[in-house]
């Protein structure tokens, strides 16, 4: 490892612009002649749009246009799509209602846009929106998932009778039933996984700029995957062919999944820009984010786990209801199915699993992938079940896990996934040591003497990351391939540009990706630039989500590097009159091994571009590209243990210690990896203690600002004690597993297991607010 190579804690290259206020986010961009859009959104959860009177607004100075849902339908802009086909157990395809970018006839959630005002300034657009009169006829609404599937419930889409999108199954029902028939013990649990709002700190924004002479669009947008945005806007929404649409995602202020999707606002901005002949900018405010950014989680599950007389798990039965909101968002269908039920084996040897998932429409904001996407729900369920089982079977919860750990790899679970490697005992051991698990009873007794209820909670998570390979996801219904692309350009002076299809919105790719180049060539990272986020600059790529950018994106860079190095070695060998096999790369030089003969990288690059003296038949230039499609998902895993105290008088929870032992395979930059874990842990803790996107019975959102939705703040959470146990991922040459979602996947179960341990009652729903904890303590 060099000072800037793989494994080094290199300070981030991108930080200077962010700490000096020179970041360039979408809302920071101004174009000449730019107009501003303000959306008119439904105040009703379910209503018919009977008419829109924009005559008064159009008379106001500075108002350019008021455009409606009917116009966007008339102009044949496509409906929003869902890109992952799921088949119900009866063989029928999932049942979806149409989702136009602005509603021409019917609104189905509060915040759905019916029209847009375009004006010379943001304030003028807001003023004019107040003058637009929309005549609604209210319809009965249903926000609660259990109410939505009952007979007689208000119906959202005629295409989906009973508000049911699909009824999907996985696993072997017969084998599972047989396991339960023979079980020595059965543990049952009902679990709600609370709905969350992603809340990246930068609200979504878009600027669309249509060039009539070139018939060309440019879209600046807050996207985690600009090429996917261009593809969807082009192929499905009829905005423009791909070569006439440039999508730029500049600095993006966090995503957490919510910026994967292509939203109505981008579509409308593009369409409107052409209609009015001027650039159109839209920047969401926080309430719009709560109303329109895809929410996360929102499951209701009943699960049963069968054990034999030796406390070995013999079977698992799960039935989950998943709330999709009012429309099927881009990847929503895959989240409670292939990203959830395929992880229900957890870290455990479970011979038989059967899971059924019912997808449900309600009059709420659409739900889609949010940090972890299905895997937090699976991990929470399994780890709550294990804790419940330990209490019921009266065994130590860590020991019950150990008894059931998978220890042989590869391991084929009954739910598709083939775990490639891992050492679950190692991460459990590391976490137990770090928190002094053995000393807990004494600490609990001391806390009791002080009037506090102390608890400890274990969570052993596993996730499937990388979100690949393409052939596998294609066979499961995905509409896209999930490889990644890279191009390595060595400039004639020897500096290097890496073009990547990954997108950084906080992950630090501008640093970590350079570290691979430094590792291989021995050049300083200051000689390397990472280019990403612009479809005009970078080859087609799939973007960043699912903890895939190192495991998949960085491997694509490695593949391109290997090709470039191979050519460069040939050039060096030719110049040094040596055999190519004898050339080694060290400290930015190509050396003939065992001699003092060497040629520096800039001289090799110059030779490649002057082409005066290249090996016979070699093309000039030094630039190579690669597309990398992995052979399997990756399987990061680890153990989180949380120790906390509950004040029985107030129900308030205080953290004592929180330890995390993760196995992410090889780490490129441990500092950045730790930062990813910290952030993920707090999102998991936020779900466990604070966060809940709530609707009233009529579908009115109750939590639509930071005044109502409890975001984790600095004084709500502890500092963390992190460590790593490492088994290298055999599925990619760098041995990387991915680290972006682990914290959010594993943390919430550790917290709830600890609180329920402290209060001595097992049933406690998230978020475990002081009020809810106090009521649970004092319930009869």
């Amino acid at each position: 490892m060099g000072v800037e190579g793989i494994g080094a804690r290199v300070v981030r290259k991108e930080d200077k612009r962010f700490i000096t206020g020179k970041g360039r986010y979408v809302d920071d961009i101004k174009l000449l002649g730019m107009t501003h859009a303000h959306f008119i959104r439904s105040p009703h959860a379910h209503a018919k749009v009977k008419g829109i009177d924009s005559s008064a607004a159009l008379k106001m100075p500075g108002v350019v246009a008021v455009l409606t849902g009917q116009q966007i339908v008339d102009d044949k802009v496509g409906n929003l799509i869902c890109g992952w086909a799921i088949t119900s157990k009866d063989g029928s395809p999932m049942k979806m209602g149409a989702w136009p970018a602005m509603a021409p006839e019917t609104v189905r959630f509060v915040g759905q846009a019916v029209a847009v005002v375009i004006a010379d300034s943001k304030n003028l657009a807001r003023d004019a929106a107040e003058a637009v009169v929309v005549n609604y006829e209210e319809l009965p609404a249903v926000a609660d998932m259990q109410a939505a599937i009952k007979a007689g419930a208000p119906q959202l889409h005629p295409e989906a009778p009973g508000n049911q999108v699909y009824d999907w199954v996985i696993g072997d029902e017969g084998a599972t039933d047989a396991a339960f028939a023979k079980a020595a013990n059965v543990v049952k649990l009902d679990v709600t996984n609370n709905r969350l709002a992603p809340n990246a700190m930068e609200p979504r924004a878009a600027i669309a700029d249509y060039d009539a002479a070139e018939e060309h669009f440019t879209l600046y947008t807050t996207s985690q995957n600009p090429h996917v945005a261009r593809l969807v806007l082009s192929a499905f929404y009829n905005i423009a062919p791909e070569h006439k649409l440039r999508v730029i995602a500049p600095d993006v202020g966090g995503g957490f999944g919510s910026k994967i999707f292509i939203y109505p606002e981008e579509m409308v901005a593009l369409w409107a820009s052409k209609k009015i002949g001027r650039p159109v900018k839209w920047t969401g405010d926080r309430t719009e984010a709560f109303l329109t950014d895809a929410h996360g989680r929102d499951h209701v599950t009943h699960a049963e786990m069968a054990f034999d007389a030796n406390n070995k798990i013999t079977g698992l039965k799960v039935k989950t209801y998943a709330n999709f909101g009012a429309y099927m968002s881009l990847f929503s269908s895959s989240v409670p199915t292939y990203l959830y039920a395929t992880l229900l084996s957890g870290q455990y040897n479970i011979p038989a699993i059967h899971a059924e998932v019912v997808g449900v429409y309600t009059n709420t904001t659409p739900v889609d992938a949010y940090r972890g996407a299905g895997r937090p729900e699976a991990s929470y369920l399994i780890e709550r079940l294990m804790e419940t089982a330990a209490r019921q079977l009266k065994v130590d919860p860590a020991q019950l896990r150990r008894t059931n750990f998978i220890t042989q790899f590869p391991h084929q679970t009954p739910v598709i996934m083939a775990y490639d490697t891992g050492d679950f005992n190692a991460s459990l051991d590391a976490a137990m040591k770090a928190i002094d698990y053995a000393g807990f009873p004494a600490r609990k007794a001391k806390a009791k003497a002080d009037g506090k209820l102390r608890g400890i909670g274990v969570s052993c998570y596993i996730e499937a990351c990388g979100i690949a390979p393409s052939k596998a996801v294609g066979s499961l219904g995905a509409g896209v391939g999930l490889w990644e692309s890279a191009e390595v350009r060595v400039n004639p002076v020897g500096t290097i540009e890496i073009l990547t299809g990954s997108h950084s919105h906080g992950q630090g790719h501008e640093t970590t990706f350079c570290q691979l180049v430094a590792e291989r060539l021995g050049v300083p990272i200051s000689q390397v630039s990472i280019v990403h986020g612009d479809t005009d600059k970078v080859q087609f790529g799939m973007g960043t989500y699912g903890s895939r950018s190192a495991a998949v994106g960085l491997t694509a860079i490695l593949k391109a590097m290997e090709k470039m190095e191979s050519k460069a070695k040939k050039i060096a060998a030719h110049a040094l009159e040596a055999s190519e096999a004898d050339i080694v790369i060290e400290n930015g030089e190509f050396k003939v091994t065992g001699t003092d003969k060497a040629i520096a990288l800039p001289m090799v690059a110059l030779a490649a571009y002057t082409a005066h003296n290249l090996p016979d038949g070699m093309e000039p230039g030094l630039k190579e590209s690669a597309f990398y499609d992995p052979t399997n998902f990756t399987f990061p895993a680890g153990t989180y243990i949380c120790e906390l105290e509950v004040d029985p008088g107030t129900g308030k929870t205080s953290f004592v210690d929180f330890v995390a032992a993760d196995d992410f395979g090889r780490l490129i930059n441990p500092m950045i990896v730790e930062g990813q874990v910290h952030g993920g842990l707090v999102q998991g803790i936020g779900q466990a203690l604070l966060e809940h996107a709530i609707y009233d019975a009529n579908g009115q959102p109750v939590t639509a600002s930071f005044m109502d939705y409890a975001m984790p703040r600095a004084d709500d959470v502890p500092s963390f004690n992190l460590s790593h146990t490492t088994t290298l991922c055999p599925g990619n040459p760098l041995g990387i597993k991915g680290c972006g979602e682990a914290g959010a996947i594993g943390a919430s179960a550790a917290v709830i297991n600890a609180i329920t341990d402290a209060i001595g009652k097992n049933n406690l729903e998230m978020p475990a607010t002081p009020d809810r904890v106090w009521r649970t303590i004092h319930a009869a």
């Binding site: 300070v11 206020g21 360039r24 700190m201 926080r286 930062g675 952030g679 707090v682």
Partner: protein
Amino acid sequence: MSTVKLTVNGKAVAVDVEDRTLLVQLLRDHLNLTGTHVGCDTSQCGACVVHMDGRAVKSCTMLAGQADGASITTIEGIAKGDELHPMQAAFRDNHGLQCGYCTPGMIMSAIDIVHRHGGQLDEATVRTELEGNICRCTGYHNIVKAVLDAAGRMKVSQAAE
């Protein structure tokens, strides 16, 4: 419309704005100082924090007119040329930022915290004081470390002056 006269990052400016213009709009839209961000519109998240006459204020929650005659410092105004403010350097060195969106407000709040508490900062105080700044990326762990680190650096640099 009114003319608001104020000093921004040491420079005197006079800006004609609608009376309802917020201070953050004046900074971002009129002066192109886009380092100050808007994250919530309800005075909760602190992405918009700037200093007015040396005190941290949320620029999304005050009118530009209320800053008439005041001296405003934004994230763009705290480094001395190429020399970062100790708080900026501490955020970088401790990996106290990821996406960078909350960072300018965090740094401006953190400088104010150190000024008000001097050498009396500990982790619990920093966490309590940061209650008005929300970060979704870092889990606060490294932000807290950065602020404590900077508090030491600022004491040293004050002692040197």
